[in-house]
Amino acid sequence: MERVPGMTNYLDFEKPLAEIEGKAEELRAMARQNEDMDVEEEAKALDKKAGDMLRDLYKGLTPWRKCQVARHPDRPHCKDYIEALFTDFTPLAGDRNFADDLAVMGGLARLGDRPVVVLGQEKGHDTKSRIERNFGMARPEGYRKAIRLMDLADRFNLPLITLVDTTGAYPGKGAEERGQSEAIARSTEKCLAIGVPSVTVIIGEGGSGGAVAFATANRVAMLEHAVYSVISPEGCASILWKDSEKMREAAEALRLTAQDLSKLAVCDRVIPEPLGGAHRDRTATIAAVGTALEEMLAEMDGKSRKELVSARRKKFLDMGSKGLAA
């Protein structure tokens, strides 16, 4: 496993783990400075303890903890997947109307030999890029860029791949003035209209309408610890519990995990994450997503445009007809 040395971003529930992993590393650092010291045995014992703890922690992650893992800053983001999985990536910019929204990245690319259009929300990885990308919260021009790229995919018969990772559409003044609602509505409408195979992977957070506008696809997969919800647990808690600290209860009630969404037939496929979450082994996670994408696209090979559109519509029309029993 590719351990991230000196990993600094521990989640609150990982605190005891942080202590043990920190201790093991401290020992090894001391040994590097003092040749007489033999700490390997002790360090290995700590490694084992940490490994066991990690397994226990991640065995039955609560929905709220999954939200935290899904938002982990070291989790691979859209850009990481695009760079690692695709070749010839050619970013395409702008909505031809107002601006280029960097919260949305997309363009032409090849997945294996297959030319595709790839599209996703990018949260950024440091302060500068996070601000530039508005933390992955798109404005209307982002959705209109997405619509433009979906049109391109449709016109040239290229499969559409979307990678969803957003807290939600940006709640800002300009965004509202320029028609955030309309942009989202049209993007969802476009998702439903295109005559090419479409595949979505929710790689982190699938936040409400801002996610739906990208995720209305023939196949919707989710990473094991990704979440997809109508509202954030904090938002739900503050409205229904009148207390935003009740986010654990809200996360539980909302059924936002990949596992529950599979039961509800909203999620077609759960892509396993490495032990400890995607951020503990980014390479393996990205590879697993690549395999899933190829398999899901292959399932739709040879389908006509009409079949793809009507199957997609039927999938959404039928959704929810059985509740959790689905």
């Binding site: 309309e182 229904l240 009630a253």
Partner: protein, 346 residues
């Protein structure tokens, strides 16, 4: 295409609200504080006669004013799974539903009906803000799909009055999935070449605005209606600045190019008739209050192949009456029975 295997049977609906309000009641305008005689207010469609403030109006009262002679046929909506997530916050979701049903006398947050408006046959759907904030869940999605399917089947335009605080959180992801579901319904209308007109009323927010409420061929709003994706409070918290006067109100959206028109409620009906008839290539309508249309015959009112239980319901239930008398009980009983009929038909 018909995903609803349950067929839907329209029926004559009483034009009188279940909860009669005593004639001599006064109510106060929330905006200017003027005391208004109840009768005066309802005659003006709950628009303050003093300051023009638009107050909530129930879908039934709206339809009564919209359809010729106040006559409309309610279109049954397939009942979704109740409480699909077994959701519980401080209250159980089924208890919240029951409370809303009791308070409003309605089954759910959307009413669908067909009839004539200025002798123009239409299907109409209206969202009920007083029912759990008009929130969009499985039922509302089913209602929009039923409305669109009916419109396509009868080649009628669909007029939808939106009003909602957004998606119904108690249905979790399934409420969110009503965004694509309702969008499919609107696509059916567009493919059939039928007009889809949205009347946005106060408030229309969140996932409702970001799906079917913004996809109309013509977008009309009532004055001062709040229309937005994110609510003003959320935005103020995010950007930490005060929002301008009238932000996200109908007139503001009109200024920003997001709407076709802002039209006061008392003029809405005439405008809808004018617009719809032009879109349909029909001659101009005679405006004003037309007498009720001839009663729809049994044969017309029925969709093909009604089930036995539904036939029994027609015989045993209320006979369609073109001239309902004051005090007529509304057909709520019939609605429940019709819904049962659907289940058996399935």
């Amino acid at each position: 295409m018909n995903w609803i295997t349950n067929y839907v049977r329209p029926r004559i609906n009483s034009i009188f609200s279940r909860r009669e309000v005593p004639e001599n009641l006064w109510s106060k305008c929330d905006e200017c504080g003027t005391m208004l005689f109840h009768r005066e207010l309802s005659d003006n469609l709950n628009v303050c006669t003093h300051c023009g403030h638009h107050m909530q109006i129930s879908p039934r009262a709206r339809f009564k004013a919209l359809f010729d002679g106040g006559i409309f046929h309610e279109i049954a909506v397939p009942a979704p799974v109740t409480d699909p997530l077994h959701f519980r916050d401080q209250k159980r979701y089924p208890d919240r539903l029951k409370a809303a049903q009791k308070a409003t006398g309605e089954k759910e947050a959307m009413l669908v009906a067909e009839g004539e408006m200025g002798r123009t046959p239409i299907v109409a759907a209206a969202q009920d803000f007083s029912f759990m904030g008009g929130s969009m869940g499985m039922y509302v999605g089913n209602a929009i799909i039923a409305a669109a399917e009916r419109a396509v089947e009868r080649k009628r335009p669909l007029i939808l009055f939106s009003a909602a605080g957004g998606a119904r959180m108690q249905e979790g992801i399934l409420s969110l999935m009503q965004m694509p579901r309702s969008t499919v319904a609107i696509q059916m209308l567009k493919e059939a070449g039928l007009p889809y007109i949205v009347v946005l009323t106060h408030p229309t927010t969140g996932g409702v605005t970001a799906s079917y409420a913004m996809l109309g061929d013509v977008q009309i709003a009532e004055p001062n209606a709040l229309i937005c994706f994110a609510g003003p409070r959320v935005i103020e918290q995010t950007i930490r600045e005060k929002l301008p006067e009238g932000f996200q109100r109908a007139e503001y959206l009109l200024d920003h190019g997001m709407l076709d028109r802002v039209t006061p409620r008392p003029q809405m009906r005439d405008e809808l008739i004018t617009v719809t008839r032009m879109l349909l290539g029909m001659p101009p309508a005679v405006k004003g209050n037309l007498p009720a249309p001839a009663p729809i015959t049994e044969a017309e009112a029925e969709t093909p192949e009604p089930s036995e239980s539904a036939k029994a319901q027609v015989k045993g239930g209320e006979a369609p009456s073109p001239t309902p008398k004051a005090g007529d009980k509304p057909a709520a009983k019939g609605a429940n029975a019709a819904a049962k009929g659907e289940k058996t038909a399935k």
